[in-house]
């Protein structure tokens, strides 16, 4: 009639999962935290992409287009450019932000142009408007290009090489390019995946340790002829399962998301294909058992859910520190960093998402290190369950 500790652990595992699956709040927590990453990343990218497109596809309101038909024709030939009639009162329209920018071509434009005098053109814009700035720059750039093309033609007509008129060449090196920003956003992925693992584990870890004490069910449970290791082990397995569920949901959602995000438009060579997804999971999943084991150990000291939750939210902040540091100032990855939990996952994931070649042995060692630490923590938790102060102390 006596059953093995493994069977007993599986009995506990099944009960904990059943209990968990009936708790709507804990399921919502897992789903919400899994959605966090895809939603935030999706929104950020869509914004970035649309801003980028806005700049390239530009509509230029022009007042007095008839005064410079040749230039208007040239503008219309440029890709993504559309010329429309400008508003009656350009200044007012820009001031009230109805238009980002209006180009005014004065009546004497053609007269001056033909006389090879500087023909004036007005760019009505509001320099305090952040949103309009890229568009203004784009239009200014177009006009300057037209101007220098004409200038070159005039020089050629006079038998002078246009190069003479360009003693210098200025090249813009944009540091906060869209690509760079996109890379920054992608840097958050490891952080989000680990948050999903943490929150996924939380409800079972607290409910099955601090919860047993708060409900007063721990005495009855421990009177059963199941060793403490089997009871703690079953709860640990259940917590690991829900943590992994959180990671899987987040991973799949990100995978689905990157099928729809127009990363190419941003000029990013980033792929979250099946291969990257599998590597991401191989990296993060071994962390789940460790997260659960630590949470259980901490929650066993707490007398109530609330106490446990406040301890755990503190832990959550702590686990985010390596990720934050890595995102803020990109540290060069050193060999030891791979084998430290959390830092290792962060470093590995950065490599995985950056498509760097990784020695498969690293995955194995990282997995072994994490699971070993998890088992050690689990033993410590089982030890706590022998203490009278833990069982009865309230």
């Amino acid at each position: 009639m006596r059953s093995s500790p493994v069977t007993q652990a599986l009995v506990v595992f099944r009960k904990e999962l059943m209990d968990w699956s009936r708790d709507r709040r804990s399921i919502m927590t897992v789903l919400a935290s899994s959605l966090l990453a895809p939603v935030i990343i999706g929104v950020m990218f869509t914004q970035l992409a649309s801003r980028q497109r806005q700049v390239e596809d530009v509509t230029i309101p022009v007042v007095g287009a008839a005064n410079a038909p040749a230039m208007i024709d040239w503008l219309k030939q440029q890709s993504g450019v559309e010329v429309v009639d400008g508003p009656a009162d350009p200044q007012e329209a820009v001031r009230t932000r109805r238009e980002d920018v209006v180009v005014i071509i004065p009546e004497d434009f053609t007269k001056n142009f033909k006389a090879s005098k500087p023909a004036q053109i007005r760019l009505v814009n509001d320099s305090s408007s952040q949103n309009a700035r890229p568009k203004v720059q784009r239009i200014r750039g177009l006009l300057q290009r037209y101007s220098s093309e004409i200038g070159s033609l005039r020089l050629i007509a006079r038998g002078v090489s246009p190069i003479v008129a360009s003693p210098m060449q200025i090249e813009d090196v944009e540091v906060s390019s869209a690509q760079q920003r996109a890379a920054q956003i992608l840097g958050f992925i490891p952080l989000f995946v680990m948050i999903a693992a943490f929150t996924g584990a939380m409800s079972i870890a607290t409910d099955s340790t601090a919860g047993e004490r708060e409900r007063g069910s721990i005495e009855a449970l421990l009177v059963n002829p199941a060793p403490r290791e089997a009871i703690a082990g079953g709860k640990w397995l259940a917590g690991t399962a829900t943590a992994m569920l959180g990671v899987l949901v987040t991973g799949s959602l990100l995978f689905a998301l990157f099928k729809y995000i127009p990363l190419q438009d941003l000029g990013i060579r980033f792929r979250l294909g099946p291969e990257q997804l599998i590597r991401t999971l191989i990296t993060v999943l071994p962390l789940c058992p460790l997260i659960v084991a630590i949470q259980m150990y901490v929650a066993t000291f707490a007398k109530s859910f609330k106490e446990a939750q406040s301890y755990l939210s503190f832990l959550m902040m702590a686990q985010m520190i390596p990720g934050m540091m890595a995102t803020m100032n990109s540290m060069p990855s050193k060999a030891w960093m791979y084998y430290v939990p959390w830092i290792g996952q962060q470093t590995l994931l950065t490599d995985v998402l950056g498509n760097k070649p990784i020695n498969p042995l690293v995955f194995v060692v990282v997995g072994v290190v994490n699971v070993t630490l998890a088992v050690t923590m689990l033993r410590a938790t089982s030890g706590l369950l022998h203490r009278e102060r833990i069982i009865f102390g309230r």
Binding site: I218, V223, N224, P225
Partner: protein, 256 residues
């Protein structure tokens, strides 16, 4: 059969259990009677393996729970002081969970569960989640899961505390049935009527010591009181190191 010899447990300076000795025989109901804080719960906790005695010996069917806690747990069915339930599980799932932890499975588990549910008159609520249960229904659920493995020895810590008449009756019925099936039943209570109605042997405990034991007739005779309640008051008010008879004589003298 449970035998306890010179059992001791202290918490810091407080001697919660201070040399308790008694025996609970098979096929008998033994009541551990004492006022609140007398050491009943601490004694039971040591019996059901969750507390380690500081001194003395316990034998549960010849097994020492300190040496072989696992073995003792197989021989024990326990309704602890705190017997909280899992609000999202049904009554049936509670019984089955504990049955499976005891190693009972399949058809055997189902028939035991059904049997307990019928015996405790719980068939109507068997598949409801316990979150909405009354106090009586909770106690019955906790009791059922405690004895699903048909243990030889049953320990009940204040089983009828806070129960209404009908639930109290159901619990008493279970205790009588367990007795008739030859189990050793040891339960604690501070309610006189309960103990006198059910017990073959009453062990009176006060301030961590046994101050009297025997049938209710024995106790009345020992104290010279006409009813058990007076006997209980006399016994639990006694200085433990004085002989019961001597002091009851003093009380008599004082009254007259």
């Amino acid at each position: 059969m449970i035998s306890v010899t010179d059992l001791r447990k202290h918490f810091g300076e407080v001697r919660a259990v201070d040399g308790v000795t008694f025996t609970a025989a098979d096929g008998q109901v033994t009541g551990l009677l004492g006022p609140n804080g007398a050491g009943k719960t601490t004694t039971l906790r040591m019996l059901y393996t969750l507390m380690r005695p500081d001194g003395g010996q316990i034998l549960v069917d010849g097994i020492d729970p300190v040496v072989d806690p696992q073995g003792a747990r197989f021989a024990l069915g326990v309704l602890p002081d705190q017997s909280g339930l899992y609000p999202r599980l049904t009554a049936r799932e509670h019984i089955e969970y504990f049955g499976e932890l005891q190693g009972i499975t399949g058809a055997d588990l189902r028939s035991r569960t059904d049997h307990l549910l019928t015996m405790l008159d719980m068939t109507a609520i068997a598949d409801r989640r316990v979150a909405g249960f009354s106090h009586g229904e909770r106690t019955k659920t906790a009791l059922a899961r405690a004895i699903v493995h048909n243990p030889k020895n049953v320990l009940l810590d204040e089983p009828t505390n806070g129960l209404d008449v009908m639930s109290t009756r159901a619990v008493r019925e279970i205790i009588r049935r367990l007795k008739s099936e030859g189990h050793t039943v040891l339960f604690s209570s501070h309610v006189m009527q309960e103990v006198s109605a059910l017990c073959d042997t009453i062990v009176v405990i006060a301030r961590g010591r046994i101050v009297g034991s025997g049938t209710s007739d024995d106790l009345r005779r020992q104290t010279g009181q006409d009813n058990l309640e007076d006997a209980f008051v006399t016994l639990s008010g006694l200085e433990a190191d004085l002989s019961t008879v001597a002091l009851s004589a003093k009380v008599e003298a004082h009254r007259s």
